[in-house]
C-alpha cells in the first residue's frame, strides 16, 4: 500500500489537500471526520423529525398533520436515525476512529482498508435510510421493527429496514474488530493496558459488546425479511412461529447497545473532567474494571424491555434483580467522575460546560431508570412517557451533550482552529435548559399515563397535567432547536474563521493526541513512533514525564 493516497506516515501536519485524497482516504483521522459528518447530518435529519413530532404534540388535536402514516414515518426516522446514524457513529465512529489510535500512540488503525470499508458501509446505510423519506412504501415500523406488524403490508418496506440494519451492523462489526486490534496491538512502546485513557477503555469495551451482540441483531432482522417475503414463519404464530422470539433476540442486542452508547460518552466525560480539573481520575484501576464489568452485566437484562410481553413471571423477577445490579458498576463510574473533581483545579472551558451538563443529566437519567427496572412498577408505566423521558435523559440529553462536548474538545485538533468560547458556553446552557424543558414535564405526563408513540391525546384532553406538560415541552423545543442550530453555526464559524490555534495542547491534557502531535496531527500522527516513558500516565498532571520519540525518522515501516 506504500504511497497509496499519500498514506505513508510521515507525520507532516495538515489535512488532505485534494478531493480524491479526502474521499479515498485510509487515514483514520479523515475517516473519523467522515464519521462525524455522517453523524451530524443524521442528527440534523432526526432532529427535524423530532421537531415535527413535538409541534404536532403541542396541543390536543391535529396541529401540523392529521395523517397517522406521516407522523409514524417521522417517529420511525427519529428513533432509527438518532441511534444508528447519530449516536453510534459519533461514538464508535468518530471518537473511536479519530481519537483512539492517537491516544494509544499508534500511527493508524490496525487495518486502514477495513476502516475505510466501515465508513463506506456507514454512509451507504445512512443514504439507504434517508431513502425511506422518498420511496412510496416507506417503512414505518419503528427502529424496533416488532413483528407481526413488521410482517404486514401496512408497515411498508421491511426489506429496507433489514438492509439498513444489516449494513450498519456490518460496519459496526468491521469497526469493532479493527478497533479491538488497534487497542491490543498498536499501542506505542511503554503504554501498558492500565496507562490507557478511559476513553480508550470505554470505546474498547463498547466494541467488545458490539462484537458479541451485533450478530444476534443482524440475525433477528434478517429473519423478519425471510418471514415476510419468503414465508419462513419464524415469527408467525399461524405457522408455528413465535412473535416473542423476535423481542428476545432484538433486546438481547439492543439493551447492551445502550452501553455501547453510554460507555464511550462517559469516556469523553472522564477525559474532559480530568483535563479540566487537572486531576487524576479517582480510583483509575477500579474505574477500568467497572467499565469492563458492563460486558457480563449488560448481557442478562434484556427482559426488562419485555416485562409486559407475556414472558414467565419468574423471568421478570430474575431480570428485575440483574437489572438492578447494573447500578454497581454504573454507580462506581459516577463516583469516579465526582471523585475526579475532589481537590481538583477546575477550569470551566467550553467543552467542560457541555460535559458538566451531560454529567448532571446523567444523574437524572440514571436514577429514573431504577423504577423502570422493577417489573411490578413497569406494569403501570411501561411504554409511557416515563420511560420515554428516562431514556431521552440518558441518551439524548446526557449522551448528546457528551458527544458535543467531545466534538468541542477535539475540535482544535481537527481544524487547527478554536470555536468561539462564549458561544460554546451559551449553546451548552441553551441546550441544557431547552432539553430539560422538553423532557422534564413529559416525565410527569407519563406518570399520568400518557403513552409514547401517540400522535394525539384526545383521551387525556381533560387531564391538565398532560396537556400543560405537552405545551411546555413544545416551548422547550424552540430553545433546544435554536441552541442546536447555533452550535452547528459555531462549528462552521470555528472551522472557517475561528482563531488559529498555535498551541497543540489548548486544554492542557496529558494524553498523547495533545502532547505528542502537531496542531493538526498529520499522516501517521507522530513524526517518529512515540514512546511512553517509565511512570507516564494520561491523568498524571503533576510530574508526568514527557512522551519521547524514536530517533530515526523514516524508519516507521508500513502496515504489512
Amino acid at each position: 500500500m506504500s504511497g497509496f493516497m499519500g498514506h505513508e506516515p510521515d507525520g507532516k501536519p495538515g489535512q488532505p489537500k485534494t478531493v480524491k485524497e479526502w474521499v479515498f482516504t485510509l487515514d483514520h483521522k479523515v475517516i473519523g471526520v467522515w464519521y462525524l459528518i455522517g453523524a451530524i447530518a443524521s442528527f440534523v435529519v432526526a432532529g427535524l423529525a423530532a421537531s415535527a413530532m413535538r409541534l404536532e404534540l403541542g396541543s390536543v388535536g391535529p396541529d401540523i398533520t392529521d395523517n397517522g402514516d406521516i407522523y409514524n414515518l417521522w417517529l420511525t426516522m427519529h428513533g432509527a436515525v438518532m441511534i444508528l446514524g447519530f449516536q453510534i457513529p459519533a461514538l464508535l465512529g468518530f471518537v473511536a476512529n479519530w481519537a483512539v489510535p492517537i491516544m494509544v500512540g499508534g500511527k493508524d488503525m490496525a487495518f486502514p482498508r477495513v476502516n475505510a470499508m466501515s465508513v463506506w458501509l456507514l454512509w451507504s446505510g445512512i443514504l439507504l435510510a434517508l431513502m425511506n423519506l422518498v420511496i412510496p412504501d416507506s417503512y414505518n415500523g419503528m427502529w424496533t421493527g416488532y413483528p407481526p406488524y413488521s410482517l404486514t403490508d401496512a408497515v411498508g418496506n421491511t426489506a429496507l429496514y433489514t438492509s439498513v440494519v444489516v449494513i450498519l451492523g456490518m460496519s459496526s462489526v468491521f469497526g469493532a474488530v479493527n478497533l479491538a486490534c488497534t487497542v491490543a496491538f498498536m499501542r506505542c512502546k511503554g503504554m501498558g493496558w492500565f496507562q490507557m485513557p478511559l476513553t480508550v477503555w470505554c470505546v474498547f469495551t463498547a466494541n467488545v459488546i458490539q462484537l458479541i451482540f451485533v450478530p444476534v441483531l443482524a440475525a433477528s432482522v434478517l429473519l423478519l425479511s425471510l418471514d415476510k417475503y419468503l414465508g419462513f414463519g419464524f415469527y408467525n404464530p399461524e405457522v408455528g412461529g413465535d412473535v416473542l422470539l423476535y423481542q428476545n433476540l432484538f433486546w438481547f442486542y439492543s439493551h447492551p447497545a445502550v452501553y455501547v452508547i453510554l460507555l464511550p460518552f462517559m469516556g469523553i466525560l472522564f477525559e474532559i473532567f480530568a483535563v479540566s480539573a487537572r486531576n487524576d481520575v479517582f480510583n483509575y484501576k477500579a474505574t477500568v474494571w467497572s467499565v469492563i464489568a458492563f460486558i457480563p452485566v449488560s448481557s442478562d437484562v434484556w427482559v426488562h424491555h419485555a416485562y409486559v410481553a407475556g414472558l414467565p413471571d419468574w423471568l421478570r423477577l430474575l431480570q428485575t434483580f440483574t437489572t438492578l445490579l447494573i447500578s454497581l458498576p454504573f454507580g462506581l463510574l459516577m463516583l469516579s467522575l465526582t471523585g475526579t473533581m475532589y481537590r481538583g483545579a477546575i477550569r470551566y472551558t467550553g467543552p467542560m460546560y457541555w460535559a458538566v451538563g451531560a454529567f448532571f443529566m446523567l444523574i437524572i437519567g440514571a436514577l429514573t431508570g431504577i423504577p423502570n427496572a422493577l417489573s411490578a412498577i413497569d406494569y403501570g408505566i411501561s411504554d409511557s412517557y416515563v420511560i420515554m423521558s428516562h431514556f431521552h435523559y440518558v441518551m439524548a440529553v446526557s449522551g448528546g451533550m457528551a458527544i458535543f462536548a467531545g466534538v468541542f474538545f477535539w475540535f482544535p485538533k481537527l481544524t487547527g482552529r478554536m470555536c468561539n468560547t462564549l458561544m460554546t458556553k451559551l449553546t451548552a446552557v441553551g441546550f441544557f435548559i431547552g432539553m430539560n424543558i422538553v423532557m422534564g414535564p413529559l416525565y410527569f405526563a407519563g406518570m399520568e399515563g400518557m403513552p409514547r408513540r401517540y400522535m394525539d391525546y384526545q383521551m387525556f384532553a381533560d387531564n391538565a397535567t398532560i396537556v400543560s406538560a405537552q405545551h411546555w415541552s413544545t416551548i422547550g423545543l424552540y430553545i433546544t432547536f435554536v441552541s442546536s442550530l447555533l452550535m452547528i453555526v459555531v462549528w462552521l464559524h470555528g472551522a472557517i474563521a475561528g482563531e488559529k490555534c498555535t498551541n497543540p495542547n489548548p486544554w492542557g491534557s496529558e494524553s498523547l493526541e495533545f502532547t505528542a502531535t502537531a496542531v493538526i496531527p498529520g499522516q501517521g500522527n507522530f513524526p517518529t513512533p512515540v514512546i511512553c516513558p517509565e511512570g507516564w500516565h494520561p491523568y498524571n498532571f503533576i510530574d508526568n514525564p514527557k512522551p519521547e520519540f524514536e530517533p530515526h525518522p523514516g524508519h516507521t515501516g508500513g502496515h504489512h
Binding site: 479517582f282 409486559v308 410481553a309 434483580f321 483545579a345 477550569r347 412498577i377 406494569y379 399515563g449 383521551m459
Partner: protein, 260 residues
Amino acid sequence: MKVKSLMHKVMGAMLALPLIPSLAHAFQSAPATRADYNGWTPHEHWDEVWHETMVDITVLGVIFALVTIAFMVMYVRKGHGERGKLPMLSPQAKLGWVVIPCMLFLGDDLFLYVKGFDLHNHMRNVPTDAVEVKVTGSMWNWNYIDSNDIDSDNELVVKVGTPVVLRMVSDDVLHSHYMQRYRVTEDLMPGRITWQWFMPDQEGESVVTCREYCGTMHSGMYGTVKALSAADYDAYVAEQTASVPSVTGVASAASTADKI
C-alpha cells in the same frame, strides 16, 4: 497491622449489610389474602411503592448532585499553574472505595427489589373470586366479552368490589392493554394468551389506551373502563342481556385452557 485487621472486619460487616432488608422481609410471612396488603388494592399498593421509589431516587440524586456541585464550586482553578491535588489512595482505600459503595448500592437495590417482589406477587396473583373478561385487540379496536356474554367495543363495564381478570389475545399485530387508573399494562399478541387483573374500587370512568405501537391509528386505539355500583351493574346486565343476542359461541372460541 491492627488497623488493617480492623479494616477487614469492617469490610466483612459491610458485605453483610445488603442482606439486612431481605432478611427483615424473610421474617414476615408471605401475604396470602387481600387484607394482608394493608387492605390496599393492587393499584393503591402500586402507588405506595412508586412513591417510595421516587423518594429513594430523589434522595440519592440530590445527595450526589449536591456533593458534586460543592466540589465544582470549591475547587475552581486559582492560578495558571495550579494542579489538582487528589490524594494518593492506599491499596486498602482503593478496595474500600469499591466495596463500600457497592454494598450501599446493593443494599438499596435489594430494598427496592423486595418492595417490587411484594408488589409483583400482589399484581400477578388473581383472587379466586375474580370474574373473567375476554379481550381481543385488533387494528384499532378493543373488544370485550364479559362473564355475562355481553359483547362490547372500547367500553368495559365492571362492578365495584369484584376483581376482574382479563384474558387477552390479538387478532393481528401486537397491542398492549393499559388501564390508567388500575396501573396495569400487558401486551396482546397472536398465538399466546396473556392476562392482567385489577380491582375496581370506585364508581366512575377511566381511560384505556394501547401501549404497543400498532400502525396508523395506534393513538386512536383507546377506550373506557366504567365501574358501576352493584345496583347499577345489575341494571346494566339486565338491559344488555335483554336486547343483545347471546354470543356464547364466540366466547368459547376465545376461551383458554390454562386456569389460574
